[in-house]
């Protein structure tokens, strides 16, 4: 079996690398994905959807490789706008915006973008290796997760949010995000909830509008409170500094990246319907709790970029496992990729690696190579956006109109509805006021992303168990997740208390 697997992988490398069309589309789609991801308001899902019609005339493996390349590059590209403008290009980059933007404010945007690029590559490439070699095995693990186990996993993310900086304000912020996600039609009954008779609100608030409202608009309003001309030191970049992180940082952050971010990214990526955003959140909060200086996270620490970028890219690769092996998309972008496979007459499932082996393995290898491609193409795009960002930050009015422009158009083009522009304003004003009183913004965004998933799995689990709430704790996987959550929350707290007591005793 293993020989068959390895022979197909080797064959797939030859198929992809020796075919000019495959390589050409890989480069083109990676570049388009990078630009789109780095442009505020265009998400990884949007660019994958936009590219879909253009790939219909291509052979199946080329089309899927192009879509995966665009998706993975856009996931990385999203970190560029998250770092420079505090606008997460995709939901996967919410956590990157926290420390990335703080580093930009300190005049270290070049370093921040180098870190996001390097660790996106590490996460994506290592995630890709796991996907290429272990997809058939991992598919069996993924199907062991039912609704109650999925809910336990989301519960873990929610519990971690409660430990976020801000205490009870973080909890309120997260719950507000969860609540905002319930507005619109109920996915189970189709009943309208809290729409006040507005049909335009039937579909609920759009994710892009909510993210722009939570992150972009409040930041601009905060900047407009102060002086309009700001002195920004022009950063000087040495090529080596833009290519790799320092050796000491790499070694210092290695336990957080390789023992926390990567495994979390892999595990969450493999689970159908969870997606890379959850991986970034869980990895960030777990790593923060196990770091030596958790209080510094969120104020511009390099680890705050390395960890979520590793996790989200590893998970982005991992989402291909349920998509290809089970035919269940791991997230919205992979749902589009799944659709593309079906348009090309390929029915996804475990047999894809047996009866359409050339296609299945070529797609996996293409996904692996797409990480290398964005790593090589990124410097040009990053340099261009760095200079634009520097220019805009010197002139606050220019920055304000640029962000408003991308917010308005980014929100409008998703559904061609003015209600989304109003949603940006409404949520932006609420976030601005709450932000003035130190309510953290990230939990609200995370709550909004996880809210629909949490409700879906909560209701599905209870429906399966005929309303018996014991369903949430009877499965061994759920029990393991709850125990792990409790340990992850309690251990670092005990450790920091012990440390505080020891330092008091020394004094």
């Amino acid at each position: 079996m293993m020989d068959y697997h390895l022979a197909n992988i080797a064959q797939a490398f030859i198929t992809v690398l020796a075919n000019p069309l495959n390589m050409g589309m890989l480069i083109f789609a990676s570049f388009v994905g990078l630009i789109a991801g780095a442009t505020p308001g265009i998400t990884s899902v949007a660019i994958t959807a936009i590219l879909l019609p253009f790939t219909l005339w291509l052979p199946p493996e080329t089309a899927i490789i192009a879509l995966i390349a665009a998706y993975t590059s856009a996931v990385y590209g999203g970190s560029v706008s998250a770092v420079l403008f505090r606008i997460p290009g995709s939901t996967e980059n919410i956590m990157t915006a926290l420390d990335g933007y703080e580093l930009t404010k300190k005049g270290r945007s070049g370093e921040a973008l180098m870190l996001s690029r390097f660790y996106s590559f590490i996460g994506g490439f290592m995630g890709g290796i796991i996907v290429v070699f272990f997809t058939p095995v991992l598919a069996d693990v993924a199907i062991m997760f039912g609704p109650s186990e999925m809910f336990a996993l989301i519960f873990m993310a929610i519990s971690f949010l409660a430990t976020f900086e801000g205490g009870v304000k973080a909890v309120v912020s997260a719950l507000l995000g969860f609540f905002l996600a319930t507005i619109g039609s109920d996915p189970t009954t189709g009943m309208y909830r809290f729409t006040f008779g507005l049909t335009a609100l039937g579909g609920g608030f759009d994710l892009v509008a909510v993210l722009l409202g939570i992150f972009a608009l409040p930041e601009i309003l905060r900047l407009l409170e102060g002086r309009l001309k700001v002195e920004v030191v022009r950063e000087k970049y040495k090529l080596r500094e833009l290519m790799f992180p320092g050796k000491s940082f790499f070694i210092r952050s290695a336990p957080l990246v390789f023992l926390i971010a990567l495994p979390i990214g892999w595990l969450i990526g493999f689970l159908p319907g969870i997606g890379a955003s959850t991986a970034a959140v869980v990895a960030y909060i777990m790593a923060r709790r196990f770091s030596k200086e958790p209080q510094k996270w969120g104020t511009g620490v390099p680890e705050g970029i390395a960890v979520p970028e590793t996790a989200n890219n590893a998970a982005a690769m991992g989402t291909l496992v349920p998509t290809l092996a089970l035919g269940i998309p791991g997230g919205a972008a992979t749902a589009i990729i799944l659709g593309a496979l079906m348009i090309h007459g390929v029915i996804p499932g475990a047999w894809i690696f047996r009866y359409r082996a050339q296609l299945g393995y070529a797609v996996l290898v293409g996904a692996l190579l797409s990480n290398l491609m964005f790593y090589l193409l990124a410097p040009a795009v990053v340099y261009m956006f760095l200079r634009i960002g520097e220019f805009l930050r010197r002139n606050i009015p220019y920055l304000a109109v640029a962000v408003i422009f991308f917010s308005v158009f980014g929100a409008y083009v998703i559904r061609n509805s003015v209600i989304d522009i109003m949603a940006v304003l409404f949520i932006g004003l609420i976030s601005y006021v709450l932000g003035r009183y130190k309510f953290p913004a990230a939990p609200m965004a995370i709550g909004f992303v996880l809210g629909p998933l949490a409700e879906k799995y909560f209701r599905r689990a209870l429906d399966i168990a005929f309303g018996d709430p014991a369903v949430f704790i009877t499965s061994p996987i759920s029990q393991f997740i709850y125990v792990a959550t409790a340990i992850a929350i309690v251990l670092p707290t005990l450790y920091s208390r012990k440390k505080a007591k020891a330092s008091k005793a020394v004094e």
């Binding site: 719950l175 606050i396 408003i404 158009f409 003035r436 949490a454 909560f458 209701r459 005929f466 309303g467």
Partner: protein, 161 residues
């Protein structure tokens, strides 16, 4: 001091109102978990958390006071909110090109940017929107009504759209 109390009280009041609305949602008899259950759990959570925070702050007299905003700064913040509202309201009627051109020029002038630069920047963003969405990504944008529609359609025809 008063600001933080107002924030928590507002959250309690608004959440209570939505909780009331949640309980008014029609029940579906054959479902174990109706549409109202999940939002009710969340809203109850917000109310409980806010009450706890409020009691803690009142008992401990531990309030957060945000930094004061200058009058000019406050004017710019409110101006931006009004600008986005007007922009959203005129977006479909005037069309994306004309509304961007006019309102961005005015907004930049209000932010004390020179008139010529304001108009140039507004034109740049209107053209950027044209090149990015209807021309580049084939995503339609509102062309406006009546003469505004004719103008935007003529402009787009120059780009082959």
């Amino acid at each position: 001091m008063i600001g933080e109390i107002i924030i928590f009280l507002s959250l309690i009041l608004v959440s209570s109102y939505f909780l009331y609305l949640a309980f008014q949602l029609p029940k579906v008899p054959w479902l174990f978990i109706g549409s109202e259950v999940w939002p009710s759990i969340l809203l109850s959570g917000i109310i409980i958390a806010c009450i706890m925070a409020l009691v803690y702050r009142i008992v401990k007299k531990n309030y957060y006071v945000p930094p004061r905003i200058e009058r000019d700064g406050m004017f710019r913040v409110l101006g931006t909110a009004i600008f986005i509202s007007v922009y959203a309201l005129t977006f479909e009627y005037l069309g994306y090109f004309i509304s961007t051109l006019i309102l961005f020029s005015i907004y930049l002038k209000v932010l004390k940017v020179k008139m010529v630069t304001s108009v140039f920047l507004a034109l740049f963003f209107a053209l950027l929107a044209t090149i990015m969405f209807p021309v580049g990504l084939l995503i339609p944008l509102p062309r406006g009504h009546g003469p505004f529609n004719e103008f935007t359609s003529y402009l787009l025809s120059l780009f082959g759209r």
